[in-house]
């Protein structure tokens, strides 16, 4: 065994990742002032992109890091919109309602987790779908929603179109930034290590002192809250609320697509996947059925030939890590590698396939 005479150092970032952190800050600052230079249509599209990033990041945290694969996350998307409608109807300022609604979604997901986290793997995945379908039916019973006819966030109409567009853009940008920061902080801390340990082997995690259920619950509630924010923001951009649109399983299908294409279990992968999905939709979204066929084909091709997704493959091949959440031990003899990038593909701490 290697005899390291000096104490090894634990590294969290690399030279590249420190540059990446600055780049992220610059990009967010540029995005914040961008509406002044962009057309109304582009501002709307960018708002959509931010929502996609939130959705992808949340599903990735749940499935890629926590091993909780769900096909029913649309329940929180739909509820995020529904509670916003309800709160606005009760007289709350519509913009405030968006976030109050997400908090309620988080609160609702807590008791739900008591039941759902008892289920394992496939049972959990399908069970969530059942919950989503059931919730959809219950929401339809609300007279305010008028069944599948739906309703609108009418109170938003008191703001003129320009103000509304830019405000929603900023809210989406701020939400995305804050949620990504919270996720990154959580996954990078010791709770994040526990989350990944549970994903890899629940029994072993319990045997070394990890609070399995409590940790899973935290992740579940956070993902519900985040997706609730996304649902409420979507309502704000589209104004109308039709239950079957919001509680549609397509939302989860999109999340899975973004995460698989981007690279499951890597923080960067979910963001990249959202951007890729957004571009595909922008360029081919108008082609109707063929767009969906193309999405399906792309998902199949990725899972066959690039199972680690785009970012997972890049990370493996080039040892590139922009937003690392893992730990690396630098021994004395590695000290000559100042970049700390040590291109040892097998040493990266990505997730194996969980899906």
């Amino acid at each position: 065994m290697s005899a390291a005479s000096t104490t090894p150092i634990i590294e969290r970032g690399t030279a590249t990742s420190r540059i990446a952190a600055i780049a992220v800050a610059v990009i967010i600052a540029l995005l914040a002032i961008a509406p002044q230079f962009l057309s109304a249509g582009v501002v709307d599209r960018m708002t959509t992109l931010f929502i996609y990033v939130i959705l992808a990041a949340m599903w990735n945290a749940l499935a890629g890091f926590g091993g909780l694969v769900s096909v029913g996350q649309q329940v929180f998307f739909g509820l995020g919109a529904y509670f916003a409608i309800r709160l606005a109807d009760a007289g709350l300022n519509p913009f405030v309602a968006l976030f109050a609604s997400a908090i309620i979604v988080g609160l609702v997901s807590w008791p739900l987790s008591l039941v759902m986290l008892r289920l394992k793997n496939g049972e959990f995945a399908i069970g969530m779908w059942v919950i989503a379908a059931l919730t959809h039916l219950l929401v339809n019973l609300d007279r305010l929603v008028q069944g599948e006819t739906g309703t609108s966030l009418i109170s938003l109409n008191v703001y003129d179109a320009g103000t509304r567009r830019v405000t929603i853009y900023w809210l989406a940008l701020a939400s995305m930034t804050a949620l990504l920061a919270i996720l990154f902080g959580l996954l990078r801390g010791s709770t994040g290590a526990a989350i990944r340990a549970i994903r890899d082997n629940e029994d072993a995690a319990a045997s070394v002192g990890v609070r399995v259920t409590g940790t899973k619950r935290l992740l579940f509630v956070l993902a519900a809250f985040g997706i609730g924010v996304a649902g409420a923001l979507w309502l704000a951009t589209s104004i109308t609320f039709q239950p079957k649109t919001y509680f549609n399983v397509q939302w989860t299908a999109y999340m899975i697509f973004m995460v698989l294409v981007g690279g499951i279990g890597t923080f960067e992968g979910a963001i990249l996947g959202a951007v890729v999905f957004f571009l595909i939709e922008t360029w081919f979204g108008g082609t109707g059925v063929w767009y969906l066929v193309g999405l399906g084909a792309a998902a199949v091709l990725f899972s066959l030939f690039l199972p680690r997704g785009l970012w997972g493959t890049i990370e493996e091949r080039f040892g590139l890590r922009l937003l690392p959440v893992g730990y690396r031990v630098r021994l004395a003899e590695d000290a000559a590698d100042p970049a700390g990038n040590g291109v040892h593909p097998e040493m990266t701490t990505t997730n194996r396939e969980t899906a």
Binding site: I10, R196, R211, G265, V329, G342, M347
Partner: protein
């Protein structure tokens, strides 16, 4: 020696474990003092691993009770027992495959031992060094071979700072050199006053560490005492060699 006493750090009283109609543990009474090193031998299917699982809290006994450090822990799950200092390894290694070797051990140090970040780093590195794994610290655990996976089980359990360590066949398949390395590691743990319960088929390795030996057969303890006396016990020889009635 087999009856629970006040001085016992770990004791089991009247423990049964049934899986359906199958009785795997049949009225086990067992107690060990602080800082003792107990070996457990017995033919396959004797219930050794099941006993370890019941002691560590992986699953509850069908009846009977377990006490650790004077408190009844029968109802406590594995997570809590680990935090109290009762930690096990797994016969079939259960690494966190998608995490690095260091991260595997770090989880135990920060959650099992409840250490803050810097202390957890130190504890994790220390236990990797002790188990000779610092060279593969950055390897993803799923890429490790069986020998390293077994070492990782030990390193990870150690990082949780046990007062009593339950080892399940960590010596299987080792060469003589590797085995003596392992014995050296265990002897170091003994110097640190960590109690040991060790299930092992390779008796000559076990006897270098164990001060007391228990032999199990068909869910019962059939012999318990000074290792050489236990190995010479006619019942033990019959359990292993399967001799018919004399």
């Amino acid at each position: 020696m087999t009856s629970p006493t006040d001085a016992a750090i770990l004791s089991a009283a009247g423990v049964h474990k049934r899986f359906g109609a199958l009785v795997v543990l049949d009225d086990i009474d067992f107690a060990m003092g602080e800082d003792e090193a107990v070996g457990i031998v017995g033919p396959n299917g004797a219930g050794k691993t099941t006993l370890l699982s019941v002691l560590s809290g992986a699953f509850p006994p069908s009846s009977g009770s377990i006490a650790f450090k004077g408190d009844d822990v029968t109802a406590l799950p594995a997570t809590q027992r680990c935090r109290l200092g009762l930690v096990r390894t797994h016969q079939v290694p259960k690494p966190f495959g998608g995490m690095t070797t260091f991260e595997n051990v770090f989880v135990a140090a920060s959650h099992g031992a409840g250490l803050g970040r810097d202390e957890a780093y130190e504890e994790a590195l220390g236990s990797l060094k002790l188990c000779g794994m610092i060279g593969v610290a950055n390897r993803r655990a799923e890429t490790l071979g069986l020998l390293d996976r077994k070492r990782l089980e030990l390193a990870r359990a150690l990082a949780a700072r046990p007062t009593l360590l339950l080892l399940d066949e960590i010596g299987g398949g080792l060469t003589d050199g590797e085995a003596s390395e392992l014995v050296g590691t265990i002897k170091e743990l003994r110097r640190r006053k960590i109690g040991i319960v060790w299930i092992e088929h390779i008796v000559h390795i076990l006897l270098q560490v164990a001060e007391r030996l228990i032999c199990m057969d068909a869910g019962k303890i059939i012999a318990d005492g000074e290792p050489r006396a236990v190995m010479a016990d006619p019942q033990v020889i019959r359990a292993y060699l399967g001799g018919g009635p004399k």
